[in-house]
Amino acid sequence: MKGPALLSVEGVAVDLPTPRGNLRAVDHVDLSIGAGRTLGIVGESGCGKTMLSRAILQLLPKKAKLSGRVMFDGQDLVCLDRERLRKLRGRSLAVVFQDPMTSLNPVLTIGTQLIETLQEHLELDGVAAKMRSVELLAAVGIPAPEQRLMQYPHQLSGGMRQRVAIAIALSCEPKLLIADEPTTALDVTIQAQILDLLAREQRRRHMAMIIITHDLGVVAGRTDEVAVMYAGRVVERAPTPDLFKKMRMPYTEALLAAIPKIDAKPHTPLPAISGRPPDPTRPLKGCSFSPRCKYAWAQCQVEKPPLEDADSPGHQYACFRPLNTEAIAPA
């Protein structure tokens, strides 16, 4: 990572009490992101991506127990009082969720929601806030923005609602935007438009962005760095080109191989990953991926591989038998 970190997540763990016992949703994650940079967080559902983003935003469920530090712009968010956090979340730290209705109020018009946000955080007067709202809606690609101000969220399509949620998130010029599966519920054509929009606004505002997704295709051409999560942990992290070309972690390899490729011949069997992720209330003693890993050996069942540095800068992986090294011959 270049420059000082804007955000650094240090040893963050999230525990949730459940009827089946303690569930460790996030397990000692370290991550950082510099100003204006883009980090992708990739992993299958249930691996803890959303809990990690909620831990960063200090928006965890009440019963959740958080440990570790979340340093943002020089302060530890874990120690901030509610009022300061609320201000920060409105201004410097913004979020877009998979379901835009999470951040939209169904009984208020789009205009009211945008204008109120702008008035509160940027202290604009009504007229200025309205003008700014129209500009923002136009910037996120909403046709006839003046008319949209009068509409309610349910009158818009899913793609349009996500654009509005992005407009609200961007309204106060945040330093960091966390986009948690912003396009998972949308069609590919709309996904491409939303991802383009995010990239364009990011460049223009020199904003840092975390894109959370289950799709390696989404992060490939659009991030500086990628962290792969599995069972609550970061299992590999690297500058994006290195992750795709010099991956060390068998899970990353398997995840990439399982995606149907557009240039493959029809009826080519897909290299599927057998089984499924472990039950997070029954953590494994060894490597969490070991029951599904084709390279697993005895050590993998009894010891947890630590996150170690690879030889190229910024590349880390957690595996006893990393790929592309002498540790294992290609299978």
Partner: protein, 329 residues
């Protein structure tokens, strides 16, 4: 005006859909969900059906099953018109056609045990011998990769999404159908599980000699399993052709757009900047002429005046466009 029916690559069609029109009344308006779709599926073939959500894929699947009756048009299954059938005749035909849905958990009755869920189609179709039913349930569960002894006594909520989809596939197979409509069977699943289910469907197809209509909104997924692909937009077919050919040289601008929008897991492939523009218009008042014209970079006056018919633009490849990307205009 009868659009030409695109011919399958080989063999006699097991399913032939002719000029199918399906509508939903909403208030005093009409949703034009499927507006004159014709296609053939040959015995043993997998036809992929793609298009953005709301374009009428599920409606088409349901109309083939006669779960939603068409306003007009025919659905010929093995030469017999399902739209003209009622009651017992239809029920008997339906046994030969099964449907698998996107949301596997929601499509299983939460209060019934897996063994009973899978045996139910057998009971309904009159397999009276309980021993025989049990045997068939065991066989089909093993075929989809589940251990019958561990599974039959349990309830749906005890299973993950991927396992529930296996159970749904087993339920669809237990009557030994000839034709299965898979309506987005992997859209709700994670990549790793999705690959397992796609492989399973391919295996089952070979093992049971099935013909498939495979519906999805993900082109790469569709290509992985289909012999031919049909592309749908706002209730109409845009293009039909052999999978590889369609991807290598799309003729319809909408097919090209869908292909370009697929995110490629390769950092050297820069995502094409905003190839896709806008969103599909409402099927309540679809555009005149070509329904894609409001988003099409090649649209001209003719496109709003005249509806393009499907015609052959390359061997076995059909497109409904006045200005196709390949072939003579």
């Amino acid at each position: 005006m009868m659009p030409s029916v695109p011919q399958p690559v080989s063999g006699d069609p097991l399913l032939r859909v002719e000029n199918l029109v399906v509508e939903y009344p909403v208030g005093n308006k009409t949703v034009h969900a499927v507006s004159g779709v014709s296609l053939d599926i040959a015995r043993g073939e997998t036809l992929g059906l793609v298009g953005e959500s709301g374009c009428g894929k599920s409606t088409l699947g349901r109309a083939v099953m006669q779960l939603r009756r068409a306003v007009s048009g025919k659905v010929l299954f093995d030469g017999q018109d399902l739209t003209a059938m009622q009651g017992d005749t239809l029920r008997r035909m339906r046994r030969r056609v099964q449907l698998i849905f996107q949301d596997p958990i929601a499509s299983l009755n939460p209060r019934r045990r897996i063994g009973d869920i899978i045996a139910e189609p057998l009971v309904i179709s009159g397999v009276k011998d309980a021993k025989k039913r049990e045997q068939l349930v065991h066989d089909v569960l093993s075929a989809v990769g589940l251990d019958p002894h561990l599974v039959i006594g349990r309830l749906p909520h005890e299973f993950s999404g991927g396992q529930c989809q296996r159970i749904c596939i087993a339920r669809a197979l237990v009557l030994n159908p000839e034709f299965i409509i898979c309506d987005e069977p992997v859209s709700a699943l994670d990549v790793s599980i999705r690959a397992q289910i796609l492989n399973l469907l391919e295996e089952m197809k070979a093992r049971y000699g099935l013909t498939l209509l495979f519906i999805a909104h993900d082109l790469a997924v569709v290509k992985a399993v289909s012999d031919r692909v049909a592309v749908m937009y706002l209730g109409r077919l845009c293009e039909v052709g052999p999978s590889e050919q369609l991807f290598a040289q799309p003729a319809h601008p909408y097919t090209a757009l869908l292909i370009e929008a697929i995110p490629v897991p390769d950092p050297d492939v820069r995502p094409a900047e905003s190839v896709a523009v806008g969103e599909p218009p409402s099927p309540i008042a679809p555009p005149s002429g070509c329904r894609f014209r409001t988003r099409c970079p090649r649209a001209d006056q003719r496109c709003s005046d005249e509806m393009p018919e499907l015609r052959e633009v390359a061997p076995a490849q059909f497109a409904a466009c006045h200005h196709p990307l390949i072939g003579a205009a």
